[in-house]
Symmetry: none
Subunit: 209 residues, 4 copies
Amino acid sequence: MSLPAGQPKFRRRKADRPDEIVAAAFEVFAEKGFAAARLDDIAARAGVSKGAIYLYFATKEDIFQAVVEQGVAPNLHNLAALAAANPQTFPDLIRAFAKVMAHVASTTPIGGIIKMVIGEARNFPELARVWHDRLIVPALGALTGAIAAAQARGEIRPGDPRHYAAGLISPLLVGVIWRETFTPVGAEPFDLPALMEQHVETQLRGMVP
Amino acid sequence: MSLPAGQPKFRRRKADRPDEIVAAAFEVFAEKGFAAARLDDIAARAGVSKGAIYLYFATKEDIFQAVVEQGVAPNLHNLAALAAANPQTFPDLIRAFAKVMAHVASTTPIGGIIKMVIGEARNFPELARVWHDRLIVPALGALTGAIAAAQARGEIRPGDPRHYAAGLISPLLVGVIWRETFTPVGAEPFDLPALMEQHVETQLRGMVP
Amino acid sequence: MSLPAGQPKFRRRKADRPDEIVAAAFEVFAEKGFAAARLDDIAARAGVSKGAIYLYFATKEDIFQAVVEQGVAPNLHNLAALAAANPQTFPDLIRAFAKVMAHVASTTPIGGIIKMVIGEARNFPELARVWHDRLIVPALGALTGAIAAAQARGEIRPGDPRHYAAGLISPLLVGVIWRETFTPVGAEPFDLPALMEQHVETQLRGMVP
Amino acid sequence: MSLPAGQPKFRRRKADRPDEIVAAAFEVFAEKGFAAARLDDIAARAGVSKGAIYLYFATKEDIFQAVVEQGVAPNLHNLAALAAANPQTFPDLIRAFAKVMAHVASTTPIGGIIKMVIGEARNFPELARVWHDRLIVPALGALTGAIAAAQARGEIRPGDPRHYAAGLISPLLVGVIWRETFTPVGAEPFDLPALMEQHVETQLRGMVP
DNA sequence: TATGAATGAGCTTTCATTCAT
DNA sequence: TATGAATGAAAGCTCATTCAT
């Protein structure tokens, strides 16, 4: 028996549905923000009825939470992978770090999530807290620690290592936000890997004694 | 009976009303975002009735637009002032630029506006366009031009001058966003002037041949 | 290993399904009322899927109707049995009638049905009509007739025989409603057989010339 | 300036609105029950928009509560008035009590409220508790006490005074329920004052030694 | 100019009913 | 016969906007 040509009215896809809904919700939330996102839009983009969403999520907030949490996990993984790799020298560590981050920023929808975190932090403080505690502090902390260690070895000039760390990664964040915010209205985009490569070399030159 | 300090006996003149409404609206929009902001809240914070708002603004969007435009003007002014002052050397120019920007970032509510621009860019592309065209491109362009000129004089190493410019000011933007997003949930704040001073010196060292 | 008492190993035959559904529906309808009853609850309590209900009943209203009708039949039977028995004297007739009714009221779920009839009479007039025409009028009519006959024989004082009948059986109805309504919130219950015995003797003393 | 002939779109009646809404809600709730009552119906019957209801009540449940509470108060008043009047003899006390109750039952919408209390007791136990504690127990208790006192004086035969009390007032309750439930589908109504007068005389004859 | 009660369109959520399996 | 995922038509509730005062 072959599949019917047309689309059946009902599809039984319990296993896949939640992910499809979360994927659709991510797009809508990233585009509109939480409050302006309409369940109708999410349902339509997920290809399900509005009611079907409530088979998997109790409230709109629950969907939002699932979207955000889904955005945390892969980045956690990236972070762990980065920590496992242990390049010889400090400059190589920084270069590797920047390269991976630039790649992630360029190829994943992390920009949309960052936009959501920034835009909804006040309405959903828990969301900001999760991102801060589980992703940002570990990442920034690891970078800061590496810088401080290099300073202790005399490889890096004195100065607040946390400020050095912020100076290193900020262009990446700004580049991502730029892409989400200004590129859609005609702004010239940034080539993030190229930008980061130049930036890291400049920083390294500036940081060594 | 003396007048209470907070509540002037003489009603403020109607001429002030629009500004008061815009000020209140700015707070609410910055906190909640456009869609989640309620006219009731804006009215209450402005100390007027909900109906009164409609004597000055036709729609909620109009209020939002006024808020955004009010946020553009003073920064335009800052920009012009910066351009008027003409320090002798390239490093001094950069130092002056960074200092003014860090001061503005630390002492004005620009963070709230930036959050709004980022969060609502998709819903109000015109808003993103205005900010991009009238503030960001001029500022970034001026900085990029100064860098390119310095490169032409051999004072700065080769490299994409726009990337250099982005590398210079990004920490400021990130610092402001950090303050709006993570500080309220307990994150350690950044001392923006100190961060920028260290960052600029590092960058300058890295940029010279 | 012996079979658990509550869970027969051999699935009940499909022939029993409708009755099980009606039984479950009765509980839910009596507890929540028609509108607030959820098909999910009925299905869960009947131990079947929601879809299975629609193999036996076309709509929620049909289930309700089945519940009500199932509640009418046994009482009709009681009534007929009562009419068949023919005690010698009028007082004995009344005593027998009250005794049977008190027993029924105490041992059957008639209270829940009465609650449903009262609560849903306006939404389902047909339901009220059925109960009125097939149960109440025959019962009340028989009682009224017996009283009128006794009056004709001079055994009972003058007076509206229908009012006498209402005066005789009302406490039973109130007792049942009381049990459904106030006992669950802590009210002192009534011992219906005792109440009726005392009430009938009092009424008989008051009704004789 | 004369009033416009047509009905103005907006009426400003803040003071009257809540009562109008409660009155409309009472009708709808009494007719449909809580769950089946629709805010649209209540609004339409009150002559306001759905939104206007929410200026005065936060939720549908709050409206329901207001309806019930409004039904308790006047009856409390009746009860107090009854207690204040102190007839000479026990029979006169009972006659007065029955007369007032029959009048109330015949002329007020108490039937609708009783129906609601019975129908929604399980969904809103607090509602049943309020009625039980504030109205029924005091009323039934006062009657029971008067009977017990009369028994102590030898004016009434032995027997459970609470059962006597129930036997006395039950026909009233049944009469009210009858009117709400069966009269609308064609049942012959009861003349409550006449029924109660005959019932009370019968009871009194039966209760004296 | 100013108010705030009132509106009504639109939102999230529920649930009786359907249908592919 | 039986399932339960899916549907979609309401339902309760919100809030930008209007208008009588």
